[in-house]
Assembly symmetry: C2
Homo-oligomer: 398 residues x 2
């Protein structure tokens, strides 16, 4: 088949799943089928719209109930959640933090905010996330223990944390990763920005490392406009997270005492009000997305060389973003696959369906070019071949 034929087939299949595109079908539009408006009005009536308010507390409790995490701390966005979580995990200036090359730039930026350096790891074809086995081999080759602390023997920097990302809402194999990191005593901070609603062997993602972080950006499974949360099992870490994200102010009726360099990272009440409405629909959104994934898989199964990405057996995924892999011919080059990918994106856009490639690998960006990395073959392959499909939570809503 020619590129043009594949692109035409692609449009046909999208039409069969999503119906005719009246207006542009976006990649992921928010959906507000519940009490969002009523909560926003009530929030205004209370005059508590800022970082103190009942909706913030309620939103945190709803997140805790849903995820099973004993502690959730709501913050302004997923990037802020990651930054604070890294600080709490002990990451500091001059350290090195391992994260996948294939993730949104915020994961690496949060590491930079700590004054530390990203160290890029390869992806796993099975999960799209960090590959624990290959990371294990890499660490064996580069880590040197000094005073009980793992150092990168090539850069002389301490390896202070590993940040797995549950890409598109599919869980990394956390048991394997915990084993690998545990043997060096490296703490794990999970970037679960995309995986609210995803469970690894029955446990919610973001609850398997020392700390986990969520995002409620406009393109996530639920949204608060902008928002994020820190999850932890540890009451003391939760207390410190709350403290660090509210300018480190000591509790007092009217004194202004702050005991460390803190952040203004707490979620405003008005954003939390929106979040409370959204949380009431989360189960429905996960169901819609899983249903959509099934339909995509059935429909794309017809096209030769296309492979629908399916959750690994240990992950009950939220299918935040549905994706297909372009496996075209066996001898294809990455640049020919990228050309096909771009052709498909263009044809679908013309037909009213918004598709997206995955992120540029982070070590290709100018500010992360010189960072340490392992061999990135799998990530490079995925970067060329992945194509994201419209996946909004309201797409199959009745």
């Amino acid at each position: 088949m020619s590129e043009a034929e594949i692109a035409r087939d692609f449009v046909r299949v999208l039409k069969s799943v999503l119906g005719d595109a009246q207006t542009q079908v976006p990649l992921h539009a928010p959906f507000f089928p519940g009490k969002e408006k009523a909560y926003l009005q009530d929030c205004l009536d209370s005059t508590f719209v800022s970082s103190v308010g009942q909706y913030v507390d309620r939103f945190e409790r709803l997140i805790e109930e849903y995820t099973g995490a004993p502690h959730a701390v709501a913050v302004v966005n997923g990037t802020a959640a990651l930054h604070a979580a890294l600080v709490l995990a002990g990451v500091g200036p001059g350290d090195e933090v391992i994260l996948p090359a294939l993730t949104f730039v915020a994961t690496a930026n949060a590491v930079s905010y700590c004054g530390s350096v990203p160290h890029f790891a390869d992806s796993d074809r099975l999960t799209l996330g960090l590959d624990p086995l290959r990371l294990g081999k890499h660490l064996e080759a580069v880590v040197e223990m000094r005073d009980g602390q793992p150092f990168n023997s090539e850069t002389q920097r301490r390896i202070a944390a590993v940040v797995p990302v549950h890409v598109f809402g599919h869980s990394v194999d956390m048991d394997l990763l915990l084993e690998v990191c545990g043997s060096y005593g490296i703490p794990i901070v999970e970037d679960a920005a995309e995986s609210l609603g995803t469970f690894y062997k029955g446990r919610h993602t973001g609850r398997l490392g020392l700390l986990g972080t969520l995002s409620f950006n406009g393109n996530k499974i639920i949204t608060t406009g902008g928002g994020g949360a820190i999850l932890t099992e540890d009451a003391e870490l939760a207390r410190r997270a709350r403290h660090l994200t509210t300018t480190a102010k000591l509790p007092h009726a009217w004194k202004y005492e702050h005991d460390q360099v803190g952040f203004n990272y707490r979620m405003p009440n008005i954003n939390a009000a929106l979040g409370c409405g959204q949380m009431e629909s989360l189960e429905q959104f996960v169901n819609n997305k899983r249903r959509l994934a099934e339909r995509y898989c059935r429909a794309f199964g017809e096209i030769e060389g296309l492979e629908c990405y399916v959750e690994p057996e240990f992950s009950e995924s939220n299918y935040w973003l549905n994706a297909v892999l372009l496996n075209r011919a066996s001898g294809d080059t990455l640049s020919s696959v990228r050309a096909l990918r771009n052709k498909i994106i263009g044809s679908c856009a013309d037909a009213g369906y918004m598709l997206r490639p995955v992120w540029n690998l982070l070590p290709t960006l100018p500010m992360y070019q010189d960072c340490p990395r392992m061999n990135l073959d799998c990530a490079q392959n995925l970067e060329a071949r992945l194509l994201c499909l419209p996946s909004g939570p309201g797409l199959l809503a009745d």
Copy 2:
């Protein structure tokens, strides 16, 4: 008069201005008399609740119109605005930044986020903000020019910026400050968090330095839940501010290219929708506050030893927070004044009126204890003597 008598008088005067406190009169509650609810509903209906949306653009244009600044960039809060503005002004790791000892901790924290060190300056009794003349003398004593750059000869650090704060909405004497800083080539970033609605010799505060920043926190003259803005006269700085605060993403329909370590600092559309409603009432809020200031002054004028703080002649102030100074007896000590202050706060709280002292001086906080500073006599005096009065924009609304 005894402490108890003064405190009783204080309560009596508050009652005469504010009426009986049915429930607790807060220091500064938000007020939503306009179209806030309608705009929030419309924002939800549009599904654009996150960082792209028409309300963000509209809010920025409203800020530009009101302040006269050619460019306003809306961000998540005033702290983020300051951080980004400092980065844009060229502040970096190892630099030193001059700011008043008497300000909210966020001003110093933003400096810390840049990896630079706060250098604390004294206040001016006339404005409550940075004292340009005494700063000038201090700089004469400590600055050494090297390759055309001003260095602190005691710490060997470059002095990269000066951050005046328009405390409680009263303008610093900017002409004097510009002269002092200009002679060393030190850029000014104005922390105008508290002074939306305040004009210095007819020009809006935040428009006199290289960059200025606003806050729309819940306790500010208008609120977006959480929010802030960067003001600048310079189109290129505005473009860079927008870029830096939106993860430094290069514009493209679907590619993920970022060219520097950026921030997720843009204001969500839903917060901007609230802000558009609030901006329509800003003029009314300023009038209410100025009227309240007059009434306070008349009423507190009766009490001996109390001095209502009044705007300096070059400042047309928003009177964000009204304040009185406890000038008790001429021989009083700072600790006796503090004791009186605390007694008054307690009595007023019992009667249903929430008062506040000003902030603890920043060099008294553990993380800023070892920072360079000039003599802080005036700031110490103000810290003991200032008492903030309930000042919400809705207090005198009819």
